[in-house]
Symmetry: D4
Subunit: 255 residues, 8 copies
């Protein structure tokens, strides 16, 4: 509820069509659909341009089904459910509370995510380029790709372009030069974004992954490395957070 909304309510009070008590009530409750275990932020789309997304980890299928139902009832057309493993996706599909949306639900196993509704037509200003360092980063790249498509972007994906064979990256120089925004995904030492950042004229969002072993510390090494990137146009999201990177890339692509 921004200043304009508040002013509108206040004008209603001034006009006598709303009591002061009602104004207070509306300020407090309007933009939330409370289902007990969750307060669905139904004004989020209006406020930030992107409707709320469901983070599936740590939620039961009952809770996810309930939240989706609430969202649909609030008029949300399209829902993305991230971090949804195959077993829980199956339970979700079989959950009676999910019945009304079942037909419009698609599960994307490689991205560990589900979507209610159709993926939209691309509407951004340009192309989001997703580059991953190795084949083992595929799951994170898939989550980023699905998220970007869900949010209405044209996406181009290049996989296995790690810096240890630098020509594998350089042969995609043109893709890098033409992208509107780049999502660079790497595990191990996380060097990819630094090289890409030095080649690109657009923002680079770096995603560290947990790919590797030993002193990769579950991806923390790549994260720390990326945050210290010697290239200037690089910012970083959480380990394996393909969703978050694509989300911000979409914001940039829709400015």
């Amino acid at each position: 509820m921004d200043a304009t909304d508040l002013e509108a309510l206040a004008r209603a009070v001034a006009a006598g069509t709303m009591t002061p008590e009602e104004l207070v009530q509306r300020v407090h409750t309007d933009a939330v659909l409370d289902v007990g275990y969750a307060q669905v932020d139904t004004a989020r789309g209006a406020r930030t341009g992107i409707s709320e997304v469901v983070y599936g980890a740590g939620k039961t299928h009952q809770q996810i089904a309930g939240i989706c139902a609430a969202m649909c009832s609030a008029g949300q057309e399209r829902i993305l459910i991230t971090r949804l493993d195959a077993t829980k996706a199956q339970q979700l599909v079989e959950d009676s509370a999910f019945e009304s949306v079942r037909d419009r639900f698609t599960y994307y196993a490689d991205a560990r995510a589900g979507v209610v509704g159709e993926l939209p037509q691309p509407s951004g200003n340009g192309v989001i380029l997703i580059i991953s360092a190795g084949t083992s980063d595929a799951t994170v790249a898939a989550e980023a790709e699905l998220t970007a498509r869900f949010l209405g972007n044209e996406v181009h994906v290049v996989q296995d372009a790690g810096v240890a064979g630098i020509h594998r990256l350089l042969r995609h120089a043109e893709d890098i030069a033409h992208a509107q925004v780049i999502v660079a995904i790497a595990g191990m030492e996380g060097a990819l974004p630094s090289v890409v950042g030095g080649l690109a004229a657009c923002p680079v969002i770096a995603v560290p992954t947990s790919v590797g072993y030993g002193a990769n510390l579950g991806g923390l090494t790549a994260l720390l490395a990326m945050v210290n990137s010697c290239a200037s146009g690089v910012s970083v999201v959480n380990i394996d957070n393909g969703f978050g990177a694509a989300y911000q890339a979409s914001l940039i692509n829709h400015l």
Copy 2:
């Protein structure tokens, strides 16, 4: 055994009704019921106002049953067993040593805890408000709620009020203003207690949770963030320690 008790014993010696050797003996052994693998602190209720609680993790069901039996034999009316998973709870119920208390035992699956005896009537000065940042924090919130009720408090719970949709929190401003003490539960970046701490006129006890992934470091990130809170009335307990937060909240509510 505080100074008064000791003085009472010394007076008995002075009166000749107790030998000096007996006094030493009493000082050493009185307040403990020794069952070999555990020394049950039977004077704890008298000393701190709250009887001993059983931390279930890392104990066998035999040990838990034995400790409960000892507590009951020492006259403890009501026992809380925390960190008790469903499997062990079942084994406990089937344990012959648990037979005498079985009928008075209730298992609370959402709180991963069991209770021997009835929950008491609320006796504190006000309401303990439990606010959690996300639906995935539900287990910790449930442990906190059960603990607070077990200790005789009126409890009000608000879930999924994380700061990324700040109006979901602000609509509960009145609950915050009227609470006697607040337990604020959050994973990921752990920002909730800082915002709540800035709104509240009462103490806020922050509980970091292990909800999240990657650089959340199993909850350590939220813990560190909460300890660094820019709001002044905030103190912190261990990761996922809903019990500990509710325990201290109860102490405050019963002052």
Copy 3:
């Protein structure tokens, strides 16, 4: 600005004594005194019961002087400036912008803090007991003591009661038994709050200190230890944060 205030404004609008635009304006600007480098929260006292405190570290004396002047102009009677080293305190006293409050300013070297105005008469429900583990923890204890007195509490201080000579602690058992709330301060292994927590019937707020060397990790070891305390009524604040502990203790003591 809580719901009551907002309702009052809305009533004014309803009564025609305030325009809707004015209501919006008030909501946005009322409770803040903007001095450019700082937005002084002038409604904090009304909202949380305690007026804003100035964290002196990382601020220039000009900024501190300016903030104090703004607070005074907003009617704040009494100001606490923490983390104020002796050099900056001297510069502050000599700063022309500080002229109007200079006479009412006292510097407490042992607590590294300054106070504008008089310390108030104690008004809490009981006594705050501050216990420190060693002589080297004195600065943190002094900050806690000054803060507690500034906030209107009766304070009792016990120093050098570390657990390696447990009778040094046990001889203060009566103080522990009678306190309304306890602040337990310790560096090195941070064991003090666990023992105190086991003896006390009131909340214990633990303050880890940076006292020690090597694997004390600048106080992080004590902080982690305290967070893992096996005693139940213990919560923790940041390393060396005597202010924060006393602040929460005061909240508890004034419930």
Copy 4:
């Protein structure tokens, strides 16, 4: 040197106006001005849209002077030197190798940075909003502001809007709603970007600062918290890296 450049060179070879050896030579040396201790990347402006910036820390004033001279000789109009403390700036001004650019040099003490040449007129698509959580974050905010202006952006700065007095932030809701991109700066628990991210419809670049003490771990706590932000459009740069955040913000603002 991108594909187009290489093709141009190859065409020259095909046309006989360049020998194959010359092509190889050009590929190897063209875009670099080698001054021994540094290889100035003179093609960076053409490649990424922003000419090279001098990171002043760990370089002697002789090296900085030499690099600036090389950049100027290569036709770079405007140079930003970051992490330049006052002492080194003075030495730089007095360095004979800096003579030719001395008149065009300005030192910005609050941003710890120097600029050769004039700051340009703003040329981006909108406004970059810089929000800091506390007065103590001023240096980082100043570095971000100067960098953004240096790169041709209109900038709006809001200071001391930390979440512990949430209305101090909410009163700037309109600035947040109208920004093209936001740089959110905070130390301690680093909660600011999460709240801003929930309010904004544009990308938020978070800058953790080293402001705080104890368990802030020199800013690492804020960094980890920000990376775990529960708000979706947030990415993060290194601790105290106001430059890097403004650099990426400028890239976004000039798309």
Copy 5:
């Protein structure tokens, strides 16, 4: 092979009963029984007073059986196999290479360890006191107890004597006063050794355990705390290393 042995060999050479080549050979190979995957140190008993012990983790049952056979063939009477889980113990018993020692093998499930041969009569100077903080530390205490008995010590065990109920510890003050050496075992905040160290006149060996959760960091918190103990006579072994503590305690008890 110490100086005396070498001198003896050199005398044999001088006496003509051994060739120089033989001396070199003996120096290189004597004290080792090489079974390919292991070089059994058969001189260890002579050198350090205690024969080699088999660390079972990370070894296959075939390897353990082979090493035991080699030790027996080298005349070792009694073998301790630590970190031997129940499954591998069963496999070991059924391994044909273990046939010759099977009858003399006993598995101690609570200590996760096996012993070939009889436990010896106690031969040390006094009693080793093993104190654990909680019931959940039982496995580590059992490993320590078995090791100490295996090495010929009289052992006294006190369990569940954590500092949160300090009288549970103080009632064993006499045991503490009379011990020759103490092994103090604790998880969580690891405070027990500090209190014991302040009460005891003998060396205290502290064993941190992985008991706890969250910020206990798998026992690292207890380890760091114990290393920082404010009590002076305390040294520390690895997390859960009941064996190592008992080993050193036995060395001390047999001086």
Copy 6:
């Protein structure tokens, strides 16, 4: 593609046998065989002397089969697949895409690796000595040994030569003196390379392993220790990275 290759292409252009466009095309695509999820670096053998190796972890058997097929089609004679557990190896063998190479595939269970083709005859300058500290390090030693043999080296292996029985190491002094390069493998405190480094006249490559428990931190302790080695000729690879150590050893042995 190095300078010589590029010059050759440019000469072809000059000679009119290649168009400029073709040159650009070749530069971009030549040395890569793109299979979608992977860009196989087919020029790696020419460039670095060793053809690409397949890191099996995090890849599906379908992906591994596809990559192997691509490599074979590009003429690679011999393929090493590391981090290949027994289950995935079995799936690989049964994968239809693997059919053409199945007959030439051998799985080495102890090294968790597979090889397509025959191991070559040794071709290096001397012997690579692999020394491990304990029997539990066997898997890492086996990976190192297989890698070294795969890369054409004569290998000598000494196991269980840890420093706690220093004579077990010293009896191999001659092997140490005669090696061309040494791979020293150890977990726990990782002391072995320091002692070996002090004895050897050749380079020592240290491999920390995850063998141990508690404060070994999954091998990080050994890694940090080895990096701090007081012996001078020691460098270090990742935890459990037997492959990497043998790879570099082979490079050294083939100079």
Copy 7:
């Protein structure tokens, strides 16, 4: 105050020569000399065999002087003040409160420690051997040596016997074989105690030092390595804690 003392007091009460109130008073105050900033534990000598030692770091010279005076007045003959830098030692000598003990005070610059009174004649069972890995560890070795002599031990010191030149250590094999207890001091990778532990038949107390740089993490690497020692008779104290190691060594040597 142990059980015997308490019994004596109780007998006095029984005999009528002491009132019960007096008994309580004695229990509370007897063994402590309270000087405000410190509670001197005057019964420590009786209780643990070693009188209290003054940890000089973080105390003012006034405090140290006051504590020493209190100790002397309580009859303590000999005082050790550790972590006393040269400047503070000079201030202490000039402090008027130190006047009475000034003549009996000696400052040991290499050990950063001061002693009031004479060093005693050795009274232990054998020799304490102190071995350090490098010349740079000299300060820690000196603190250990002085502490051991202060506590009445014969001490033998071997310096610069690090494992990178293993024969520098092995030539002292006889010292190792004959020691009653060994203090092994090392920085960097901390390997020395593992080798010594494998050679010795007596307990080895390991002292990690902060000697080194980079990944030595201020000594934490050596500490972690030592705790993971593959040799069995090794326990560890804090980084640079020569005092603590010698203290425990003395306890062992006086059993």
Copy 8:
């Protein structure tokens, strides 16, 4: 003292020209020159091919002078003293114990090192290439260069070739292709060795530096990144350890 030496001594005993006692004596003392605070390893040159080097940090100038004198008296021609800051170098030159070698001493300020004697003619098999990522890494590069020259190597140095301007590195492809061994030096994210490792056919020794700020953790981030390098021929030394890298490079270059 290797097997050959020992056999020679044994033969002397057999021949009657040496007593057995003398043999033992020689084994114990021969290869060490004991100056009290240091045991100079005079056999190191014979044993490992490179005489002992003096690590200057943490040693007094008196100790350094004494060690150098001992080395010279033992016939060592050339001495390298690392980590020698300018102040201590000056004190060393003025130290009377250093008189005899003063004329042959040169101080290299950029490398923070001193050399006694002349640098030798290069004698290795090829060229050592030292590549650094940035101008700020110059000190570490200088230490590596001086060390390599001291040990008899031809050295080629390329500075400021970081990956954010990848063509600055690629233009040195020929140097990389022709090197015998490469030392790759980088701070911040430490990506350089991964790219170089992918281009080179020779071993790459990576040196992380402490260059950077914030989350570079004093170089630890670069170290961890390098250890996780996705390029195969890379091993790593300690942070800022230019000496160690050059030392191993020299070993490789002299095989």
